[in-house]
């Protein structure tokens, strides 16, 4: 498995989190699990890389953490995508799309899709 550089991971993390939360609200551990699953283990966020990212996004008003009771009865802090966060999603997608197209033109990096 290829380890992704921390800076790339951080940059892409915002998009990954926003895209996941666009589908449904999730708590931190579930976010890290989904990112690892969907990316086939290429992107992995642990305690130290995920929460500063979430807190920063929350400060910017892109996501909102709410303590909610899970089906198990346990209270979890679920992150919800805010209207402001939703607005960020399209430009971020476009920005990363352009980035990969540029890399493809320069270095022949093609996406797997």
């Amino acid at each position: 498995m290829i380890a992704i550089d921390t800076k790339i991971k951080r940059g892409s993390g915002e998009l990954a989190v926003l895209a996941l939360l666009d589908q449904e609200p999730l708590h931190g551990y579930e976010i890290s699990k989904r990112i690892a699953q969907v990316s086939g283990g290429v992107l992995q966020f642990n305690l130290a890389s995920l929460y500063p990212l979430l807190y920063r996004m929350e400060k910017r008003g892109w996501v909102k953490g709410k303590w909610e009771e899970a089906q198990s009865g346990r209270k979890r802090r679920n992150y919800h995508l805010t209207r402001n966060g939703k607005k960020q999603l399209a430009p971020l997608r476009a920005e990363w799309g352009m980035f990969f197209q540029a890399l493809h033109r320069i270095a022949g990096v093609a996406h797997a899709g």
Binding site: Y29, L47, A48, R56, K59, R76, R77
Partner: protein
């Protein structure tokens, strides 16, 4: 065994964010550790080992703490590397050079070692012994500062050795320029001078710098409140 929240609090210390927000952060992180540990337990890892492994997924707790604080204030007042490396290194560099300047002005003259160059005896090496004696203090200050700021062992070492690393960088930069620009001195003499300067101003002062730093070199401890 203490609960996860307590273990995280021990490692992160007081965040200074207000009781309510801190409690919320510790609780949330503790939930994450519990989930991670439960996933490991499900794969057959014993409970204690699973919790330890979940906590060990954070390689550097002081850095994690800084990241949380930076995210919470949404401004990197001073980034982690500046605090643990650049500032102590700059302090060591300044202190070392100030000491050298003072010793050159007020101290005893340097010890010259003479070499026979084929035609005559030439002064090749100048030792400022009082300056060398003063270097453990510089190493100690830099290593202590870096450690207090939460620097890893490598940051403490690099900060303590900053004065000699800077000189080595300077010599390495000057050598090719002098070879191109100054055509009056033969290349072999310049290379010899480079080696002699490296030994006298880099390798030799490294020893007292490291001696001074040694008592303070330690792996960073989790900060407590």
């Amino acid at each position: 065994m203490p609960d996860n929240q307590e273990l995280i609090r021990e490692r992160l210390g007081n965040l200074g964010l207000g009781t309510c927000r801190e409690e919320e952060i510790f609780r949330e992180l503790s939930d994450h550790v519990a989930d991670h540990a439960a996933a490991l337990e499900a794969r057959g890892v014993p409970r204690d080992a699973a919790v330890r492994a979940a906590l060990d997924s954070v390689f550097n707790w002081p850095e994690f703490r800084e990241e949380i604080l930076s995210a919470e204030t949404e401004e990197a007042i001073m980034n982690y590397r500046t605090k643990v490396l650049w500032l102590p290194a700059l302090c060591a560099l300044t202190l070392s050079n100030v000491m050298l300047a003072l010793i050159q002005v007020f101290g005893p003259p340097p010890h010259f070692y003479w070499f026979y160059t084929g035609k005559s005896m030439q002064p090749m090496i100048a030792f400022f012994v009082p300056w060398l004696i003063s270097q453990p203090v510089v190493g100690a200050v830099a290593a202590y500062w870096s450690r207090r700021a939460g620097g890893a062992l490598r940051h403490q070492l690099l900060a303590a050795l900053a004065p000699v690393i800077a000189l080595l960088g300077l010599f390495v930069l000057i050598l090719p320029f002098s070879m191109v620009l100054d055509k009056h001195v033969a290349h072999n003499i310049r290379l010899t001078a480079f080696l002699v300067l490296t030994v006298v101003w880099v390798l030799l002062p490294s020893v007292p710098l490291l001696i001074g730093a040694a008592p303070f070199l330690r792996k960073p401890r989790p900060q407590s409140s």
